[in-house]
Assembly symmetry: D3
Homo-oligomer: 136 residues x 6
């Protein structure tokens, strides 16, 4: 299996609901350094997994939607804890939609699996990995 | 598959038995930066893989047992080479026991797979990955 | 010159005032990975710059004050932009006060210079470096 | 599954053919920091995945072949785009051959899977992962 | 002293002249991960060292000039070895010119010192640090 | 000021004397990732700070002397706590001697300042920086 990984980041505010979160129930924030790994079993005719420029641009645009935001006020996340693992899934789902729209180019439709990792500090991160063909 | 990764470290002394180890047959030591990745197929009702506070505390306590020790003198490791890969398995086994005792909270019983990575330098690391349900 | 560096982190929300900040005028947040470097010209009788345990504990307590907070609501920062460089200075000033109170042990009074670096992402950081003896 | 990872690097020049590459169609270059992860289900009698000295030496020799080269002039790559993902596969294939020749020691024949990752910058990398037993 | 650091990268080909370079006399290449640290003794009215957006954009444009190039063919470098330390100075000189042109905003004229570091691999880097007011 | 930095590592055992060290009074160990930064005000005729091959080889040989050792048994360190900051100075002193012997080539005699940093974990490091011309 081949893969390509690109990195970007977002800076957001949010708070969590639930005793398990302790002081993180207060409004606070995070920088998420986001790694997106795109996997497919074979390379295309150009010898690549994906157009890395398109992959980076798509990731940047997708993150722009939540960047410099208070996620507690984003309607799409109403009633949800925007935990690191939850956000990894959000990025995954939106990448799958972008691939299906053709944003990463026609060859990207052969991408089999995507792993999204959000690093929230030097000691903690969360990931979601799934197949592109699985329904969200 | 979702995952959460937490990081901590230990500083130990040890020596190895066997010609393959060359100068590492002498008493020496290592800092192991330890990454523990906990994986499960779905999030709990709070939107998390695990209580990250409990996971970090459990890892810290588990590592305290070997931290600032000469592993050559730890009875549990008698007759074994405490290689990086062997210690990754030790951490895995002890985490599985901690989950089964409930140390990571009741929800942690849904954790499916654990990957433990020990970084011994900027150029070398070792891992053990296994399913929680497999007998040690 | 000798130095010792310890690392910790905080996760905060804040917003900025001023056109120069663009979208960062909105409420957002950041993880700051904080490196504190303590410098002195000679080692103490134990062969150290500082009791690294006391230095780490002091840093943790000092950061706890702002951790998981919306800095826009912290009275001490009223009317100020809590930029990364501003916060580096805040950490510096509080460390100097902690040294002068003796929190880092009596030997720490020989610390000459402190450099505080806050990493806000994988591509940006800010620092403040000053002498302990200079008036804040 | 156990694994051991070793790291080295190469510095090469090359150019790409195909509009998808944009300015990278010009002759340019890259540092590739190469991580090789060797996986097997159980440890050998010494308690290791592989002789890490032999693994590091083999990787170094294998990379020496392309290090400080213009890959556009390497006959083995004629007519191919030497993309990061393509080169990850090249390193994989050559490691498999080295294992089969016995360069990593007799125990290394139990290595099941190899993952090769080439980091081309702080924001991009590519990998190839495959089983040792699969025909190249 | 306050500072802000921004990071970007370039991918170039080049060769060196001189026996001291050994195999690096051949045409090869490098990824340089570039850190630019801008220092000044006090913050401006907004509480910043520099408009970090302008600093990042300026660095990107400045690097675009050499990115995806064979430096052996760049007229400005004719007859020079484009070593990592030499290129750190080139980036410094061009940043000073950009500041003097006002590209980083009027406040950036208070920047006192710039340190440019080029990381050429995980084990080697080079820097140039100088005062903005010194003649190039 | 120009500089070049090279990185290597050692793995050692040791123990400390003094209550301030707490559990580190027991025999334990560390991996030290060692960064050596060599500084000089101008480049030599080849456009370099130092022959990076010679610098790396010298560092490797110098570290080989303590690598895979129990520092408590090294005669040169008898009666001393081999703390990270102390060892940074040891590496500095031995590099100065190597430069004076000509091990880094004749041009290296123009190196003005050396900064040695030993990273003992992902959260702690120590440094010694001094001028080559200062008596040890």
């Amino acid at each position: 299996m081949y893969s390509v990984t690109v990195r970007d980041h977002v800076m957001i505010a949010h708070s969590f609901t639930g005793q398990v979160f302790g002081p993180a129930q207060r409004l606070h924030g995070a920088t998420f350094v986001v790694d997106v790994e795109l996997k497919r079993p074979s390379l295309d005719a150009d010898g690549i997994v994906v157009d890395i420029g398109k992959a980076s641009d798509t990731l940047r645009q997708l993150l722009a939607d939540i960047n410099y935001r208070n996620l507690d006020e984003v309607p799409a996340f109403a009633g949800r804890n925007t935990t690191t693992e939850f956000l990894a899934r959000v990025v995954f789902d939106r990448l799958v939609a972008a691939i299906q729209r053709g944003d990463l180019g026609p060859g990207a439709r052969d991408i089999d699996t995507i792993r999204v990792t959000l690093h929230e500090s030097h000691v903690a991160s969360a990931s979601f990995e799934g197949r592109v063909s699985d329904p969200a």
